[in-house]
Symmetry: C2
Subunit: 121 residues, 2 copies
């Protein structure tokens, strides 16, 4: 018998360290309407973590999982398991240290566009 692996670390998901985050990767992550919507919802939550199941996106579950993975691997969000739920939070501090003002500017642009196009604000 193998010794039981520590319950938490075995399910840890890979994240780039702050210094590994690249602007190009962040912009690629935000260049998709669904991913931009996820980030806007997380930002509106004022720092609260949201579970993947909170998001009701008009795409399949596997596509949703893909979008969260792109956001995690680019350094835009942090994903952690809490019990059976995968929880998501914006890496606001990391992004603000690397690129001061950028996230706020991107969110403002996204909000402005949503208003202009008549989508849900």
């Amino acid at each position: 018998m193998r010794p039981a692996a520590p319950v938490t670390s075995s399910r840890d998901l890979p994240h780039p360290a702050r210094e590994e985050i690249r602007l190009e990767g962040v912009l690629h992550a935000l260049s998709d309407p669904m991913r931009l919507r996820i980030v806007r919802e997380l930002a509106a939550g004022a720092g609260d973590e949201l579970s993947c199941s909170h998001f009701d996106l008009p795409v399949t579950k596997s596509t949703t999982t893909h979008h969260f993975r792109v956001l995690r691997e680019s350094g835009v969000i942090r994903q952690v398991y809490r019990g059976t739920a995968k929880m998501n939070g914006l890496r606001q501090e990391d992004l603000d240290v690397l690129f001061p003002g950028l996230l706020a500017s991107l969110l403002a642009a996204a909000g402005r566009q949503a208003t202009r196009l008549g989508a849900a604000g």
Copy 2:
């Protein structure tokens, strides 16, 4: 013999109108290191148009052409023929009207990253 086509209009390149520009498209355009570099050089030129041949990118000519096309079709740059040269300019006013402050914020982030990674500023 066919009548000669008007020299200018026959070579006009398609551009999105300002209201057709989408944030997602702009971010996708800027999510590539070569395209980000082109935009930084255009921004450093303070409104001056630069010819494609001005840019000495470490990629093939056809890849360079592709990058300029992505930038044009997303609404980030305007490309016009002047004589035999294809000239490129940032659509700064259009972007500033749609997304106030975003371009400046993106350029600042790109500059900060270049400094941090020790690339040519």
